[in-house]
Subunit: 239 residues, 2 copies
């Protein structure tokens, strides 16, 4: 292989990584906007988040096209191949986080039409935790930080605990005031969306780990088993 | 390339497709089991579904390993490359449907501990529709039937309509009897899981279409826009 071809390949891989990073930036912004639209009751901001989603989807398609071209023309091996396929996975998870943020924004618009709910503070706390996981794993990707990726992987458990307590809080709130069942259901789904975002951050951290080390994260996360022991329990099961 | 190498590649691709098909079969069985565990209130069956999920996950990892090897050793081009990458996507969506089926089974166990809910018949209807979409798209994959893939893609709209009506039905049911808010919340998530399974079937149909034609499905599905016009509306937004 001539030097020229090698350099071109490195350039293409750098371009691929830069598209993934750009996607990450947009997804981070979408999540921050969605969470702010809930806590500040800002329907215009929610609409901005919704309107921004097609750009994220388009970037994912662009990543897929770049990868098809790279594989067909460059036929990368070893670490280059790993890097190429990792970008495919990263883009997939980021697109899904973008979708979940958009869904939160759509639900924000509905909730805003109702009275302020007391539980939005808990949602806000959980949202900040999810946004922080996303930031950390994107940083880990950008700076090749394996340790930070593992840390995100471990922290998802905390988000799951938040979700379980929020689930119970929301059910109580709906039982106390049946008029809140409608908005409460949307808040339940917002909480679930945040929990899913945590799962996607876990996926992202696994990809970053595999990308940097060529190996899967070893060890078991101390995942709370959530099948309830009694009929009174309302703890929802994890996927 | 010698005939020998070409034949080996064809064999490997066939093996990859057979792993994906086997995954499809297991996922179909998991979904059927999860739905039956809800409608027949069968906790043992639900536990069987949950216990079967690791096998599906392992098959996905096997698909990924096969693809890494194929790309590294065979460096496939054109339709072969498309087929290889499509298998990666198919396995990803199937794994996710398996997860959603497992989640339905976990919620079934919780719901069974409560009184029978009147709405399980609606869940059953929606579940049959989702299972049918999955069957159709797996058939389309096995028989290279582009038309059938497009048909699945169009039918997802019907599942969305079911979901919206079930969402409203469940809220009414929770409002009428606050003791049903706990199980009602789990039924809401089961309905949402079925709606997500429909989305994954749509993804699968897009991959089958791309695999067979090299092109994306053209045209817009008449997707119901679900942002509600009034504050009274409880129609949930789609992703």
């Amino acid at each position: 292989m001539t030097d020229h071809i090698v350099r071109a390949f490195t350039d293409e891989l750098a371009e691929l990584n830069s598209t993934v990073s750009r996607m990450g930036g947009l997804v981070e912004k979408a999540l921050a906007g969605a969470l702010a639209s809930v806590s500040r009751r800002d329907a215009d901001l929610a609409r901005t988040v919704i309107a921004g989603d097609p750009e994220i989807d388009e970037l994912q398609r662009s990543v897929e096209r770049q990868i098809m071209r790279l594989l067909a023309l460059r036929q990368p091996m070893a670490r280059d191949l790993r890097q190429t396929l990792s970008a495919l996975k990263l883009a997939g998870d980021l697109e899904r986080i973008g979708d979940l943020a958009k869904n939160i924004a759509k639900r924000a618009i509905i909730i805003i039409e109702h009275e302020p709910a007391a539980v939005t503070r808990s949602i806000d706390r959980m949202g900040k935790l999810a946004a922080n996981l996303l930031k950390q794993v994107l940083d880990a990707f950008a700076s090749h930080a394996v340790g930070e990726a593992v840390s995100v992987w471990m922290q998802d458990e905390e988000l799951d605990a938040h979700y379980n307590s929020l689930f119970r809080e929301l059910l109580t709130y709906m039982m106390e005031d049946p008029r809140q069942i409608g908005p409460g259901a949307h808040l339940l789904f917002i909480a679930k969306n945040l929990e899913r975002i945590g799962d996607h951050c876990t996926n992202l951290s696994e990809v970053v780990h595999f990308l940097e080390t060529g190996e899967e994260i070893v060890g078991t996360r101390p995942k709370v088993d959530s099948l309830p022991a009694s009929a009174q329990s309302h703890i929802p099961p994890e996927d």
